[in-house]
Symmetry: C2
Subunit: 253 residues, 2 copies
């Protein structure tokens, strides 16, 4: 399913969209900019609805647009030749989608798609390259996001190889909470099983364990966090490292 443009007031204004006001922006990469830098970026931003399953990046296909998420969450998924796939990272309003363009590549082997629907801005890849060259502040914060995201992926490799499903689930729920501003979000066991790379019914079992400890409450297609602190303890040592890097280099989320 494709995301749709947010309707503009009138057709006549489509050619000259209203400038985005920085104080309304929730995306961290944009809101943290000095206003002079933001003004360089703003004219190229196009507001978009980003429904669940909306594809931001297809594997091995040149990137045409970069996305700044305002609301919702993106899954970055790696796929094996045999069809098995697993989530290697997530981001929401804490990041953006076009990092390979900063690293001298116009594509990536990974899928980026909306796991939790929301909205955001997009920008043409060519404009993005131009704007980054004009704004060192934007360039820096984006490179720092790349560093943090690498850390998150490395941490995912670590827990995939050494943590039980219950801990990995707790970690995922916490990461999701960090990126939405809600203790509750729509997600099915089936999707979680793809993200964690495990059986659907193993997810069900793990959810029941966390529910039994009153850390979360799960209803059909939905998960609600009841006790954030204890959930963090349930994640064990598997949560926190990239989050600390983010705070150190970019700021609080």
């Amino acid at each position: 399913m494709e995301g749709q443009r947010v309707a503009r007031p009138t057709d006549a204004q489509q050619e000259v969209p209203a400038m985005v006001d920085q104080s309304d922006v929730r995306n961290r990469m944009l809101s943290s900019l000095p206003s002079d830098d933001f003004n360089i970026v703003a004219p190229y931003l196009e507001a978009l609805k980003l429904d669940r399953d909306y594809v931001l990046i297809l594997p091995h296909i040149p990137i045409e647009h970069v996305y700044f998420v305002e609301k919702g969450m993106v899954s970055v998924v790696a796929e094996k030749a045999d069809g098995r796939s697993i989530e290697v990272g997530v981001y929401g309003r804490d990041g953006m989608s076009g990092t390979p363009l900063l690293l001298g590549s116009n594509q990536t082997p990974h899928h980026h798609y909306m796991q939790i629907g929301g909205c955001g801005f997009r920008m043409e890849a060519a404009d993005f390259q131009k704007v980054v060259a004009q704004s060192p502040a934007l360039h820096l914060v984006l490179l720092r996001f790349v560093h943090v995201f690498m850390t998150q992926t490395a941490q995912t490799a670590l827990v995939n190889g050494s943590s039980i499903i219950e801990e990995r689930l707790a970690r995922w729920v916490l990461m999701c909470r960090d990126r939405l501003d809600s203790n509750e979000f729509p997600i099915t066991h089936d999707f979680l099983s793809m993200m964690l790379g495990v059986r659907r019914s193993s997810v069900t079992d793990a959810i029941h364990l966390l529910e039994g400890a009153h850390l979360i409450k799960a209803t059909r297609g939905n998960i609600q966090i009841l006790d954030r602190d204890r959930l963090e303890r349930a994640a064990g040592a598997s949560y926190g490292v990239p989050e600390a890097e983010y705070r150190r280099l970019i700021g609080p989320l």
Copy 2:
């Protein structure tokens, strides 16, 4: 154990070390540079022996030197608070050690140390920053290496979550082969168990499986590849993605 400086011809020459000849350089980041760019970099390179266990980067400690490996292999290791650790990537003469400095961070949460001893060059961090600003060609190839390394880490997350030990071992052996120029290299089961995040005796079992199929031959503290092609098939779908990215963006290794 610390690596040692390669002995210079005389003490008198220590202040003015002989300029490195690019045609002798095996590191891909350096050898792929146009000679004008190489000449910018060369004066700052200090040749070093890099013994096994030599530490290139300590977690959460500011990076003082960056390293260009000529021979040998580096393990990048992530650690959990509970002490468990796992390898999230490797590099040798295909890369370098100072990538966080390119991404607006002077440190990283990960350990970088020589897994297979060798030699290389190092450069002071401040000089590195200066040189990168002067050579766009160097800057580009290094950023591309960051992209490829991210891909490798993501692939590690994928296989840690979805492949059996035998396949992961085959992948590791192949990656090692790619970075040394030898079908044979020194490594113990114990080290491999730390790299793969599994029991030492599980490594022994997996090695016996690959040995039984005549893909490798293992002796005390040593592994030899007998049949590279079939080993690649034994790795299943777990090997090849970052390697293809490297060839696409940087060149053959």
